[in-house]
Symmetry: C2
Subunit: 315 residues, 2 copies
């Protein structure tokens, strides 16, 4: 049933397969804030970057162990590794390798963007699974402000390597509208970006019905989520903002197609730091933080299955 | 003569002092394309990231040695270090340290941008001279697409540490207008961004008449450069696109105030790979590539002094 035009390593298809295999669309965001790590991982007030990096790597490995086989993907946030310095970047590389070894897809949240050969350098280094790139991410988040020719190198690299690209379309922060919501030619800027994404998604369709390019669309704007689902029928939507940022399953429901595909939903703090949540901390002492991670992931999976079309993924 | 409201470590003032001390506004872009390094630095076809990183660090050290005392600043491009992997990031840290030791200001061209605590993590790690941050950059380039509240953490960190922020306003690539030129409320999107930058620059003025926030404004659009100089009278303009990208001194002249301050002009390939330029390569064998770097920097300095208000910096 595989169409000859869709190679087996098409990112949209790989994502669809993995979402179907796990019967849920949950992405666990790896945002290792140093100040929020479970007690015992990092000596209080420690400023040594090597020790910080080791703690972050151990913490992310623990999260990966807790959610492997359960969710389709993780999303390491580059900022929390860069913050530590070069040692943090070595930890990021380790974490990506550990996630790949655990059978998780890796969406590196780095929001890169530049022009010409510089964009090519970012794409070449960061984007591409396994040994196809230095960092080994399956997909990369990219900022569209620099225009179409700045995005082309990411698309080309993704196509060559079976990788994916998620373009920032509409972000979940309260101030995200300052430039994204400016109306030009009757449409907000974010809809112009969405139009570009949809054209590229349609041009790179896999057998799953989606392309290799997706969109980041904030969950704190549910009306806009329905609008963006309609505007980009062939794009995977990466929806942040579930949980700690205020969105629930009902808020993200509009991001899905009726077959349960088309959207993946990220939660970071609500899962990885579940041991510190008011509704969890009485049950989970610090040394059982991984159990809290697993329970929070299961809870989110059930929530999405109950209140969105993701329930149709369960056979 | 120092106003009490302006601390000595105000980035705008530090930049003005350094530009005045060198009597020129040249920024040397450190874009170490592996394929363009002078012969002898990297074995042909070498794929070992440690050897690649060492070659890049040695090359950048050589450029720094050639231009130290001559130009006010260097601009390492993060992409070319990230491309190598974690080893490349260690090289980036070394290069920043080497530039600081040589008395050069460091503008890290990373075009970061994210929301909330993630933006704070980027700012905290990347932005701040010397030991105030893990990486040690004096200033950082930042992408505005995520809106004002995504930029605030960069501004706060810059203010606290004597650092600077350059916001992408108008980029020099041919496709840069796809979203930047969309007209909303009678102004292109990039002018809305410029308005935000000017307000922040005016709110953080130093004794030099400029704030701690500047703008990246492409030199391949000379008409827009004059327009943007007028729209952001209190912002330092970082002008890329000189040389290899097609802009010359006459094209960038409109970016300067009449006293010769207010703009810094970047050239990357045209200086660091001068040994391979058609007009240089007959005179410079590979082992004299540093002499070519120095001559190209001097040539650019003279060009800007002759055809822009930067000539007034020469006492």
């Amino acid at each position: 049933m595989t169409a000859p035009s869709a190679p087996v390593n098409h990112f949209g298809d790989r994502l669809a397969e993995t979402v179907r295999a796990r019967s849920n669309p949950v992405v666990v965001g790896l945002d290792p804030h140093l100040g929020s790590l479970p007690a015992g991982l990092l000596p209080h007030g420690c400023r040594d970057p090597r020790i910080q990096a080791d703690a972050v790597a151990a913490f992310c490995q623990g999260v990966i162990d807790a959610v492997a086989g359960l969710v389709p993907a993780v999303k390491p946030q580059s900022a929390f590794f860069e913050q530590i310095g070069p040692e943090g970047m070595s930890a990021l590389r380790q974490v990506i390798q550990a996630a790949a070894d655990a059978g998780l897809l890796i969406i590196l949240d780095a929001k890169r963007g530049d022009i010409g050969s510089t964009a090519s350098a970012y794409a070449s280094g960061l984007l591409g699974p396994g040994a196809t790139s230095a960092w080994g991410a399956d997909a990369l988040t990219v900022n569209p402000y620099l225009g179409g020719d700045s995005l082309d190198p990411f698309m080309e690299t993704a196509r060559d390597r079976g990788g994916g690209v998620f373009i920032l379309v509409k972000t979940s922060n309260t101030g995200g509208g300052l430039f994204q919501d400016l109306v030009a030619d009757g449409l907000p800027v974010y809809r112009h970006v969405a139009r570009w994404v949809e054209a590229q998604a349609e041009a790179t369709l896999g057998t799953c019905g989606f392309g290799i390019i997706g969109a980041v669309t904030g969950a704190t704007w549910p009306g806009q989520l329905a609008e963006l689902r309609g505007a980009m029928p062939h794009a995977w939507l990466l929806v942040p903002g579930y949980g700690a940022q205020g969105g629930g399953a009902r808020e993200v429901a509009a991001a899905f197609h009726s077959n349960g595909l088309g959207a993946i939903v990220n939660s970071s703090r609500g899962i990885i730091f579940a041991h510190a949540r008011p509704d969890y901390r009485d049950r989970y002492p610090p040394d059982r933080w991984q159990d809290a991670v697993r329970e929070a992931a299961v809870e989110m999976i059930e929530d999405l299955r109950s209140h969105t079309a993701a329930g149709r993924l369960v056979s």
